[in-house]
Symmetry: D4
Subunit: 209 residues, 8 copies
């Protein structure tokens, strides 16, 4: 566990019972609980014990955290290219939120409709850190990286068909971006995108180390 | 040979003598001569016999064609992302020109600096057909495809390093483009980009078939 | 949306309700509606509201458009190599038709039976633009490209097994074609093939820009 | 060593001295000598000792064999798609010749110019076995396989650029051929193509085993 | 259709009705019928109309052919490495049989137990042509190729896991074989293996062309 | 150009004259100059005009910047696994320094000698952001990511042979890291590693945005 | 069958009856029986005949062996990185046990939590041979290889998603390890890991050959 | 450094001076010195200072070790398939020798000539551990693994062309071997093969741990 950051449970391949027991341990210590890649069925089983746990179906995430007052003038921006990228984008957004960051969602702003993206320019440029989620050609971070002066975390998704090769195309695009200030996480790793953004956001909040 | 189109000589791997002899045959029939991928040395040897042949060093092309009056209100637009893509872009542009098309070059308009691209929007949108040349992440055609309503020929280049895998990254990006109206040719195939553009341009000039 | 071209709905991953609501919006404006990659079940749900929508099962497309008088002396030719390529070929053909182009289907003309292909030579050579659809070795566009003097859009399909690697073999074949005048779209992207063909066909109809 | 077939020396990586000593051993036994992938320099060194050895520069092969009366009504046909494929085609042709087969060379008959190929149809169809050599899209064996009723050995070459990936494209094409009766050897393995053809040709000559 | 060879129906993706109607046409002309990759269910439907059709479950093949007297002193040998390769080996064997060749099956002779293979040496060496079927490391043709002096058709299978990459490992092994006289067909293409073997066998039977 | 950050010149493929003229423009405005991937020869030509430019041979970088007082209690840590990774690590380190960050270099701390790495634990854990550079198996960021609670930028290098496939192995390792808080840049992109680190470092210095 | 080692049955693709009959043959000779990759259902069928056969569900293995007195001061250590790697690790551990080796399991010691691994250092360093099982980035053997002076068998698993490409990432990592004394088996080949370890362990027990 | 094993210097990319200084340090402590991948030029420079250092040109290795009495009844066997694999085989053999193992070299025993391999059977079967080195199809370890009951270390080499993809073919073959008791090291990693063999050999010499 990182300092000050909750432990996050990778739900895939774990039984509901297993998830419940880890959740219990964390909850009893008053810590934030965040489970990723968990099915609705398993989540409901946990919720039957802890009804105040929230389940986000699109992102397939289950969590509980104490309510915190949030300043809203600084935030993490989460962008995604198409509606099919939503589950990954939501995984990123909720991860960042559960880790204590205000999040602005700017969705469906793929580069094939550049004016839609540009219409959100001000909000994007005011973010402390930007997460860009995109499948298929994965070109969103390249354009965004050229528009902002903060770090951009690029999350390729497996959305696409044929020569997208399950996200390989988007991954390569992002790794080869001409824009500077971009770094990349694994295909469909929305969690990683949100986590890296939250790490940076929290560092900035704390100021000089 | 296509109807009305000159035969084009692929210079790679041919000796200067071989190129000269094919050129002679074409020139004697009064036909346009176009040699691609030809080194300066070989070109000069041909030029010593035919001093009116033009050699374009960046594009590594050698050609001769009769002067033709060109209408300038309709044209092929050739765009490229970075200065390193110039040789491929020039191969496309000169191919289209030798095949009888007016060409507008709009270079160094990569998507990481989107405003530079947008500053040429009107000129791009007035083209009859657009050729977009890009290496590394190869995102240019995706943005351009969303801005124009004519066919976009996408030419990936081998410019880049590491995970660009000699143009594979740009190629996959272009094949997976979310924008419609885009079709793709081989990596570094500037000739193919220019040829396809010229085919379309000439069809349009001739009007209803 | 491109000028003069209807907006097309990518049906994959969208609910019937979502498709219906987008369709409604377009229909109310009197615009053409075209939904690709939509299942029979979802299509029927939309048809229960709009009985004049047409569903093409092989191509998995749903559409509605105003009847238009069509000139039949110029057309888009859609060729495919084998009967297994039919769904992709139909996606291309119907896309072109819905976008206002007369279409001639010339199917099952794979190069392993070259005389069948050649028996259609005249019809192929009279087309304004040709779409060639092929899986496995994907050699059809190479032969066709050498026979016609108009643009050829090549659509690789995922038909095949073993070393076809889900369409990769056909895709590479088409990108490396020795014939000039060929450009390529993504594996199984029949829509892209038809769209590019329609773009070119319509440009030609309108004549000098 | 196969029964009745000479031992063949793979010249790559062997010194001239090494090649000379193996050649001597074979020659002294009165056996055919065939060295593949040997440079002109090394060949000349061997020829300075054995002036009756023949060196074929295009194929990079060195050989000596006893003159044999050949029947010319049955033969191996070696086809290649482009002039750049010549070295590999010659490696196949000479291998077959040295192994005792009459060979007909039918070169530069790529499928992008199908009528050139078809103009040789009769000669191709009369062959006992056909070797087809092609790079880039490698479509030649598919067309030929559909035209003949004898085995077709397909030899992909590394000729091409970009997405040809050093012969991978042609290799995959050939493995996925829709035509039956085709089998494939390694990229640039002209020797293998000629050897397999000769094996079949000789079996047929000998008749029922 | 090749001269003297029946037309073969690729069953995959065809309906039972479709298969039945093609079968009818062939049967009525008294021709051999061979359907590959056909499920038991579809086969039974055809058999309910033609009870004398034979269905081979392991190979998933359905066929009918006139009884022919066969000489048994010359034959095609079909070898496979492991029991999991049996369906592909049987596809090869039955194809060759239906095309009129006597076949000897020598199964489960993988190179990791070389003595088992060598115990069949005489039978293997007397074959007119050998088909070798193997998955995983696919080394069988390399050993066999060194033991016989007739053509060896190598059929890689998709048997294996992990780094076998669905037959890629076996395919590459076979293409890179050090033994000469080997040619390769597509992964799991038992039909291709049997067809090529039969072509050669029949040529040899007919003797000098 | 990012706000507050100098424009950086990618030296590869640019002539010394070209580099000099861009450098001049920046220097005349009093701005920091940073040229990456520049050879010693080209650098010396620029230095003959601007003798106060510094050239770092290992990193192949040329720069000039105004001396700034630096606080030394907060810093960017740059780690590398082996001595062969030094050029990439230095590219990262110097990039960060030129962009105004204090840098601590901790080199030759590959995971195959874990105790060497652990002997630097305190210094690593006090960094504001960590850049980890590694080739071959590229495991360094995974171990470091588990030890620190700040962002880790992972830079794969092309160091290795055989199955390292020019950095692919290290790249995949880093993308698949089990540790959270890691993001990845292109193979050999030391510049990208240093730039991302500097972006984060400067954000943190400025505190709440 | 190796000398002194039981024959092991690969259960995948074999029927329960087939497995039973091979088991019978071995059991009747009093030999150890080990079946890998066998489902619970098939195992139970065998157990209904031989109730003293043991089935290990996680490892999907069925076996029977005579009880042997084991020395416990020397042993094979089996390590795995994450809980998802357990089935493969158990396959390795049980294989080694059935082949007569004492085994120590040290699980969930991935390198992203290096202190957990180091807390087992003494036990790991006392092993005669170490098997390391890991998916995702597969970095465990690199760290372990640097800590021990005995052979390390590395088993990559297919655990992971996205750019893990079904175990390719872990496989490449292990092949490129900087630590010496590491050798690698196929992805998910727990059996191979255990078998190699047992071979070495038994050789060592027997002492000088 | 492993217990009891000398430190080995990876010569690639190190200057002669660097190699000399590390060598000095080791030699002064009376330790064995082994430098891999070192050119003749660099080696000679070191030898001018230490004339008793031995340089093996084929293996590109430089070493010095104290003379030790060796028992010759137990040994490491190093096998290679073709003469082109010699440099890698020698790297393995010399590594094992310098690490104190008697070594028997059995070269040029590729599986395409199985009888040559079998003629060495007794010597191979008496080895304590076997290293098998092979390029192209890399089938040697599969056959050897089935013949011996000791561990087999498989070393793929990059020898081959075309679809050998620089050793990938041999690597995959070895990873997928049907024989048990085989483990694999990186392409061309003769050092790794010899090191692993020596580790096992020495363990066995020492007997029960
Ligand atoms: N969706 C996710 N993708 C990648 N890593 C995750 C994900 N969810 C949790 N993790 C990480 O997985 C680790 C927990 O794994 P586990 O012990 O299997 O629950 C934590 O370090 C998390 O940071
Ligand atoms: N740079 C190029 N890239 C791809 N194809 C080309 C190029 N230049 C010429 N060609 C084509 O190559 C053919 C001529 O090849 P060749 O007969 O070898 O000169 C013509 O059909 C051209 O269309
Ligand atoms: N160009 C070639 N490509 C592939 N194999 C070859 C070639 N030339 C000769 N060979 C084979 O290589 C073997 C001889 O190799 P070597 O002992 O190294 O001379 C013979 O079995 C030949 O059949
Ligand atoms: N040829 C080689 N291939 C792979 N690893 C080697 C080789 N030679 C030496 N090594 C390893 O490289 C390490 C030394 O690397 P270095 O510190 O760069 O000299 C030692 O751990 C050796 O075990
Ligand atoms: Mg930016
Ligand atoms: Mg558009
Ligand atoms: Mg054409
Ligand atoms: Mg045929
Ligand atoms: Mg043979
Ligand atoms: Mg961390
Ligand atoms: Mg070690
Ligand atoms: Mg063995």
């Amino acid at each position: 566990k990182r300092q000050g950051f909750p432990e996050i449970i990778f739900g895939e391949g774990k039984t509901a019972e297993h998830i419940l027991s880890i959740s219990k341990a964390l909850r009893e210590k008053g810590e934030t609980v965040l489970v990723t890649r968990v099915s609705k069925e398993k989540a409901e089983l946990v919720q039957s014990v802890y009804p105040d746990f929230i389940y986000e179906e699109t992102a397939r995430m289950l969590y509980w955290k104490e309510a915190v007052e949030q300043q809203e003038d600084s935030y993490v921006a989460v962008l995604c290219a198409g509606t099919s990228d939503l589950p990954v984008a939501e995984e990123a957004a909720i991860t960042a939120e559960v880790l204590g960051c205000p999040v602005r969602r700017i969705y469906d702003v793929g580069v094939a409709g550049i004016h839609r993206l540009l219409s959100h320019l001000e909000e994007i440029q005011k973010a402390s850190v930007v997460v860009t989620v995109a499948g298929m050609e994965g070109a969103l971070p390249s354009v965004v990286g050229g528009l902002v002066s903060v770090p951009v975390i690029a999350v390729p998704t497996s959305i696409g068909y044929g020569a997208s090769f399950h996200g390989l195309s988007a991954l390569l695009t992002m790794l080869n971006s001409c824009a500077s200030g971009i770094s990349v996480v694994n295909i469909d790793n929305g969690f990683g995108g949100g986590y890296n953004a939250a790490l940076i956001y929290q560092l900035v909040q704390k100021g000089v180390r």
